[in-house]
C-alpha cells in the first residue's frame, strides 16, 4: 500500500482528511487484528469498510473510538498525530461511534441516555436538550419520543437515538458499525438516506458492513479488509464510474479472489411436488405467555412436509427463540398442539423428541449448544450422555466415543487438531459444523435451525447453507429460523413471517417474495 501515496495526494484535492491512519497495527494474543493499515477519512464521504468476520473491522473501530490503542503506527487527526486515549477523548476530537451492539442504558429514558456524559455536577437539563434534539431530528426526519424507555425502542429506533447522540455532540466523523445487521429492509433504506444527508452536511461517515449490496448502494469510497489487512480501496471517482454489478464483481474479487457474482445471490428452485406430501411436523394454536424481553407466542400454526424448508422470517426478538425452544421441548407451551410424525408430542420431554427424530440446532452455540471445556468427542454426544453404546452401566466407553467422533469430524469436515480438543477453542464455523454433525446424526427426521449462520464468515455461511439444502434434499423436514432475508430466500420453499410472537403471513418463495416478506416484516415493525 506504500505505492498509494501519489494517489492519496491526488485525492486530497477533494478535501483534507479528518482522520488519517498510517501503518496502524494491533496485535492480540495469537492474531494480528490490524496489519499495517493506511486509511484516510474525509468529510463529505461515506467511507465503507467492507470485510468478513475476522477481517479486523471491529478492531479498527475500537482504535478510532478510543477503546483500544494501536501497537504500531499513528492516527492523525487534522494532520496532527494524536493518541486517542479514551472514548471521552474520541468524542472530544469529534469522532462519534454507533456500535454494533446498542450502547444505550436500557433502564434509562431516551432523554437520560442523551444526557449521559454531561458534567456530573450539573443538573440534567432536559428542556435545552429537547430543543437541541428537536431541531436536529426534525432536519433529519427522525421522530423520537424522548420520554420513552430505551429498552422499549426497536433496534432501528435505538440506532437513531445513538446517531442523534453522536450528532448532538458535534461529531465530525460518524462511525456506524454493522448498523444494518438488525434492521428491516425499510430500516436499511432509511439509514442509507440518513447517511447521504449527513455527508451532504460535510460529515465524514464510516460505514462498516459485510454486505456487498449495501456497500455498493451507500458508499462513496470503499476500503476492503481481509484478515486484518487492507486489500484494496475504490476511490469515489472510480466508484461512480462503475455500475452496481461491476462494483459487486470488484468487491468479490478483492474479498474472495476468483468467485464472481454475489455468492449470496442464490434462489431456491421450486419443489411443487412437496405440496402433496403428508406434513411431518404440524403445529396448531401454539401459545406462550409473554415474558421479560420476549413477546411470547400467539396462536402459531404451520405444517412442514418431508423435504420442505419452511423459513421463519422476522426481526430478532419476535419470538423466534421461544418457538424453537417450545418445539424442541426445552420450554412448555401454555397451549396448542405439536404433532410430529403422526404422534402428539406436545408433552414429550426433550430427550424423547430427539429420539423420535426431531432435532434442534440452537443459535446459542457456546451457551446451550456446547460445553466449551469438554472435548469435541463428548460434545458430539452431549445429548446422549449415558446412553449405550457409548456408556455402559455409567462407564464411559472411550474407544467407541472417539471412533464416533473421528467419523463425524471427517464426514462434516470439522477442522480441529483432534477429537480431544476442548470445543471452545474452535472457531465459530467449526463449532457449528460439530453441532450440525450431532443433530443430523442417525435418526433425524425434522431439523429446526435457529439462525444457523449468525456470526459465521462467508465461507462457513455458504457451507452451512448448502448443508441445510442437503438435509431437505434427503427428505427431512426443515424449519429454518433466520433474520437474514437473503438466506431465507436462498433456501426456503415457503417463508412465514413472525412478528410479536404471531405469524403475520406466509409467502411462497417465488419471484416477488422478497418484497412480500419485507413488507410483512416492516408493516408491524415500524
Amino acid at each position: 500500500m506504500t505505492a498509494g501515496s501519489p494517489n492519496s495526494s491526488a485525492d486530497s484535492s477533494i478535501a483534507e482528511p479528518i482522520v488519517t491512519l498510517s501503518g496502524v497495527t494491533k496485535r492480540f494474543p495469537g492474531v494480528v487484528a490490524n496489519d499495517d493499515i493506511d486509511m484516510a477519512i474525509r468529510p463529505g464521504e461515506v467511507h465503507v469498510l467492507l470485510g468478513e468476520n475476522g477481517a479486523g473491522k471491529s478492531t479498527l473501530i475500537g482504535l478510532l473510538s478510543g477503546l483500544i490503542a494501536p501497537d504500531e503506527g499513528t492516527i492523525a487527526i487534522d494532520g496532527r498525530a494524536t493518541q486517542i486515549a479514551s472514548p471521552r477523548h474520541a468524542l472530544a476530537l469529534g469522532i462519534g461511534t454507533v456500535f454494533q451492539h446498542t450502547m444505550l442504558v436500557p433502564t434509562l429514558t431516551v432523554a437520560e441516555n442523551l444526557l449521559l456524559g454531561e458534567p456530573w455536577w450539573r443538573r440534567p437539563r432536559k428542556e435545552s436538550l429537547q430543543r437541541r434534539i428537536e431541531d436536529l431530528s426534525k432536519s433529519l426526519g427522525i421522530e423520537i419520543d424522548l420520554d420513552a424507555l430505551a429498552a422499549d425502542l426497536s433496534l432501528g429506533e435505538q440506532q437513531q437515538v445513538e446517531i442523534l447522540r453522536a450528532l448532538s455532540r458535534n461529531s465530525r466523523v460518524l462511525i456506524l458499525d454493522e448498523s444494518t445487521s438488525m434492521l428491516t429492509p425499510e430500516g436499511i433504506e432509511e439509514l442509507g438516506d440518513l447517511m447521504r444527508q449527513l455527508v451532504k452536511r460535510g460529515l465524514a461517515v464510516v460505514f462498516i458492513t459485510h454486505k456487498l449490496k449495501e456497500a455498493a448502494a451507500f458508499g462513496d469510497r470503499i476500503s476492503v479488509l481481509k484478515l486484518g489487512r487492507k486489500v484494496g480501496e475504490i476511490s469515489p471517482d472510480r466508484f461512480r464510474s462503475l455500475d452496481h454489478d461491476q462494483l459487486i464483481a470488484e468487491f468479490v474479487e478483492m474479498m474472495f479472489g476468483k468467485r464472481s457474482g454475489d455468492p449470496e445471490d442464490v434462489v431456491r428452485s421450486p419443489h411443487p411436488e412437496l405440496r402433496d406430501r403428508q406434513p411431518l411436523l404440524s403445529v396448531s394454536g401454539l401459545t406462550l405467555a409473554p415474558a421479560r424481553g420476549n413477546p411470547g407466542l400467539n396462536d402459531i400454526a404451520f405444517d412442514v412436509r418431508p423435504g420442505e424448508i419452511l423459513g421463519i422470517a422476522g426481526i430478532d426478538g419476535n419470538g423466534q427463540t421461544q418457538l424453537a425452544r417450545v418445539l424442541a421441548g426445552q420450554q412448555r407451551a401454555d397451549g396448542g398442539d405439536i404433532r410430529f410424525d403422526g404422534k402428539p408430542v406436545t408433552d414429550w420431554p426433550v430427550h424423547a423428541r430427539r429420539d423420535a427424530g426431531l432435532r434442534y440446532l440452537t443459535d446459542d452455540r457456546l451457551g446451550e449448544g456446547t460445553v466449551g471445556s469438554f472435548p469435541v468427542s463428548i460434545n458430539l454426544l452431549l445429548k446422549q450422555i449415558g446412553d449405550p453404546p457409548f456408556w455402559r452401566n455409567g462407564i464411559e466407553q472411550t474407544a467407541a466415543i472417539d471412533a464416533h467422533a473421528r467419523d463425524l469430524i471427517r464426514q462434516y469436515d470439522v477442522r480441529t487438531p483432534s477429537e480431544h480438543t476442548p470445543i471452545g477453542r474452535l472457531s465459530g464455523g467449526n463449532i457449528q459444523k460439530a453441532l450440525l454433525a450431532r443433530e443430523l446424526a442417525e435418526g433425524a427426521k425434522a431439523v429446526i435451525f435457529n439462525k444457523p449462520t449468525y456470526g459465521l464468515d462467508l465461507a462457513n455461511t455458504l457451507a452451512t447453507r448448502s448443508r441445510i439444502g442437503d438435509v431437505a434434499q434427503s427428505g427431512k423436514a426443515v424449519l429454518l429460523i433466520s433474520t437474514d432475508l437473503d438466506e431465507l430466500l436462498a433456501l426456503s420453499d415457503r417463508i412465514a413471517v413472525l412478528s410479536a410472537g404471531r405469524i403475520v403471513g406466509t409467502v411462497d418463495n417465488e419471484p416477488g417474495a422478497r418484497n412480500a416478506v419485507g413488507r410483512l416484516m416492516g408493516g408491524l415493525a415500524a
Binding site: L67, P87, G117, W120, P124, R165
Partner: protein, 311 residues
C-alpha cells in the same frame, strides 16, 4: 396496670426500633449506592466495624460524639478506598475481597480493642438528645419517635437527599448507567471506574457513620463484633429496595422493630431466651426474601468488574 404495661411496652419498642434502625438505614443507603453503580459491596460489614471501633475511639479520646462520627466516617472511607482500589481499579472479585475485608477488620478491631483496653469496656457518657418541640409531647409515640440523637433525624433526611440524587442529578444518571450498562457510560465519555469509586467511597463513609452510631449512641461502648451482621442486613435491604431509598427506610424500620423486640419483651416481663429473640431479624430476612425476593431486579452489571474493550 394493663394500660401502663401497654404504654411502656410500646414506648420501649418504638424507641428501640428507631435506635436499631438507624445503622441499618445508613448501611442500606450506602450499599444501595454501590449496587446502583454495579459494585456488590460485601465489605460493608467490615466498613461498619471499622467505623464502630474508630468512631468509638475518637469519641472516647476527644470526648465528643460528633468527632466520633467523623472518625467513624474516616475509617469506613479508608476501608472503602482499599475495596475501590482492588475491586474497581484492578477488577478483582468483589465477593472474595468483600468477605476478606469483613473478616480481616472484625479480627483487627477486636485485637486493637483488646490491646488498648484489655478486658474492660469503658462507656461513653449518654449522648445528647434532641427533642422535637410539640411532636415530642404526643403520648406514647412522641417520646419514642421524637426524642433522639440528632443523627437519627439526619439519617432520615438522607433518604430524601438520596431520592433527589438518583432522580434529579447528572451523577444519579451516571450511577445507574454504571450499574446497568457500564460500556454505554464509557462510550458516552464518563469514566466508569471513577463513578464506581465515588459510589464505593460514599458507601464506606455512610457505613462508617452507621457503625459509629451503633457503638457511640446505640450501645455507648465498643465490644468486638458489635455490628453483628448489621452490614449484611444492609445488603439485604439494598437488594430488596431495588434502588428506592424510601424502601430502605421502611425495611430498616421493620428490622429495627424485630431487633427492639428483645428489649421490649424484657420490659414486658415475657421471658424468652435472648438467643431466640436475636434470631428474629434473620428470620425476618428469610421471610422478606421469600415474599419479595423473587421480584427484586438488580442492576445488570452488578458484581461484574468493567474492562474497557471487552464485549
Amino acid at each position: 396496670m394493663d394500660a401502663l404495661f401497654t404504654q411502656m411496652f410500646l414506648g420501649a419498642l418504638f424507641f428501640g426500633a428507631i435506635t436499631a434502625a438507624v445503622p441499618l438505614l445508613l448501611a442500606g443507603l450506602g450499599e444501595q449506592m454501590s449496587e446502583k453503580a454495579g459494585v456488590l459491596n460485601i465489605g460493608i460489614e467490615g466498613m461498619m466495624i471499622a467505623g464502630a471501633y474508630f468512631g468509638f475511639l475518637t469519641a472516647y479520646q476527644a470526648e465528643s460524639i460528633w468527632l466520633g462520627f467523623i472518625g467513624g466516617a474516616a475509617a469506613g472511607l479508608a476501608v472503602a478506598l482499599v475495596m475501590a482500589l482492588l475491586c474497581v481499579r484492578l477488577g478483582l472479585n468483589q465477593i472474595v475481597i468483600g468477605i476478606g475485608l469483613t473478616l480481616g477488620l472484625e479480627g483487627l478491631t477486636a485485637l486493637l480493642h483488646h490491646i488498648q483496653f484489655s478486658r474492660t469496656y469503658p462507656r461513653l457518657p449518654a449522648p445528647q438528645i434532641l427533642e422535637i418541640p410539640l411532636l415530642a409531647d404526643i403520648p406514647v409515640i412522641g417520646p419514642a419517635l421524637f426524642k433522639h440523637h440528632p443523627m437519627v433525624y439526619l439519617s432520615v433526611a438522607l433518604v430524601f437527599v438520596m431520592i433527589f440524587l438518583y432522580r434529579r442529578t447528572q451523577f444519579g444518571l451516571n450511577l445507574q448507567a454504571a450499574g446497568d450498562k457500564p460500556a454505554a457510560l464509557d462510550v458516552a465519555g464518563v469514566d466508569v471506574a471513577t463513578t464506581r469509586t465515588v459510589a464505593v467511597l460514599a458507601t464506606g463513609a455512610l457505613a462508617g457513620i452507621g457503625g459509629a452510631y451503633l457503638a457511640n449512641v446505640g450501645a455507648g461502648l465498643f465490644v468486638p463484633f458489635i455490628t453483628n451482621g448489621a452490614g449484611f442486613l444492609g445488603i439485604v435491604l439494598a437488594m430488596l429496595a431495588r434502588g428506592r431509598p424510601m424502601w430502605v427506610l421502611f425495611g430498616a424500620l421493620l428490622f429495627g422493630v424485630s431487633l427492639a423486640l428483645t428489649t421490649a419483651l424484657q420490659v414486658a416481663g415475657i421471658n424468652i431466651p435472648t438467643d431466640v429473640i436475636q434470631m428474629i431479624p434473620f428470620l425476618a430476612v428469610i421471610v422478606m426474601l421469600v415474599v419479595f425476593g423473587r421480584r427484586s431486579s438488580l442492576p445488570a452489571a452488578l458484581g461484574i468488574p468493567y474492562q474497557r474493550g471487552e464485549r
